[in-house]
Symmetry: C2
Amino acid sequence: MTSDSEIMKPVGIFDSGVGGLTVLKALRERLPNEDFVYLGDTARLPYGTKSATSILRYARQAARHLKLRDIKLLVIACNTASAVALLELQEELAPLPVIGVVKPGAFAAVEACPAGRHLVLATEATVNLHAYGDAIRSLDEAADVRELPCELLVALAEEGWTKGEIAEGIVREYLHPFFAAEQSRPDSIILGCTHFPILRPAIRAVAGDGTRIIDSAGTTATAVEELLRSHGLVREEPGSDGRSGLELLATDGARRFARVGGTFLGTALVAADVRIVDL
Amino acid sequence: MTSDSEIMKPVGIFDSGVGGLTVLKALRERLPNEDFVYLGDTARLPYGTKSATSILRYARQAARHLKLRDIKLLVIACNTASAVALLELQEELAPLPVIGVVKPGAFAAVEACPAGRHLVLATEATVNLHAYGDAIRSLDEAADVRELPCELLVALAEEGWTKGEIAEGIVREYLHPFFAAEQSRPDSIILGCTHFPILRPAIRAVAGDGTRIIDSAGTTATAVEELLRSHGLVREEPGSDGRSGLELLATDGARRFARVGGTFLGTALVAADVRIVDL
């Protein structure tokens, strides 16, 4: 049986920066009684253009830091880190449950479009590892998966230029080859980077209504709930003050984290909400 | 008197990534007999969105690494690192001569447009420190300087989308407020980030012919030559094989460094040209 003190521990979430706050947002909606501690490795972001060796090293340091904070489950809320480091972290941190965002995203895509044509928008590192392609095909042999690195979308989201002509022009430049012929249009576009959900309106405008847009935040929250439940770790009551707790940690730049992160979390943040830690 | 062995040492150049290769290109043209060792801190790029504390730490590690390689002069070929770390590195590495790119860029702007209106395009960190504003006003009290953070231009240059509608659209979005009224148009646009020279055609298309575009690569090369000459360190003859040497070091991702870096250096590179080092 799980002890009460285990249940009261926070859920740890780790990302390369602020993009993972889209996953945190979905988690807080799904699991309103849980405490969360979020760590963004802003000193070394972005991960998407770095080598697997560096990404694995950074992910390990972040995971160890969160483990020391006595979490009950770790969410790797960064697609690139999930693609590179999930298995290693599951092994290294066992018996702590560790979950990534790639498999929940792949599951959502296969459920929405069985035997479908999927287009994965992701970072260079995630694409190079074929993380989504492998995950989708392991769930659905009939699926057709194409993976496209879209680094400029990360910068676009960070700059907050998420709507209008420029955002749509950049999205169109990336998507055009896949939408040129009617018979090869994707059935689903998978947002394979946690920065991309805030670009959904621009992607919708370019892709039109015939393509599903899949975001792993919601399915990751569902998967986290199931995993917590299977371990008897779901917190059914709010804290003594009636609110769940949230601790935000970053490795650099509290002011920028607050400014850019507020867009992703969907709630205003100030620098004082963010504590800087050294990994 | 300077010994021959001193003269034969390479010039060290350090940047956060590949952008500084535009400076290296100008240096090789200006000083064809010198050997160069270039270090790009690709494991932690970009510097432009990080805090001054982190940038200073990274710059120190890179500079120490190059000093151990027995260089005769250090060029900080990154505007952000120059803005943050020049004085500290000059002090720490003395008597090794250390030069940044901000002052040469400011000098070029003041020379081109005395008592002019200058618009500096730079990273967030460079703008926050007002590095160009201070440098220009110290040379020309009558100068009017405005500084604009343009993070998306860094990503645009890295993605290689340097021409056409998207590049011009993004540049127009940044520049529009400064070009809306004829009487407040800048006399000069200063490319305050080493990524930006490859965006010159798009910037020219938006700014029109009435504005000078200032790039610190050429004036930095001139300043390096003068500094070497004042120390009696200029190499007047090529190496024994008639060619000058070039060593390329990076902290991560040789393949990406070669692919993206080739655009900046203006010559094709392959991954085997780049050695990975740990700082």
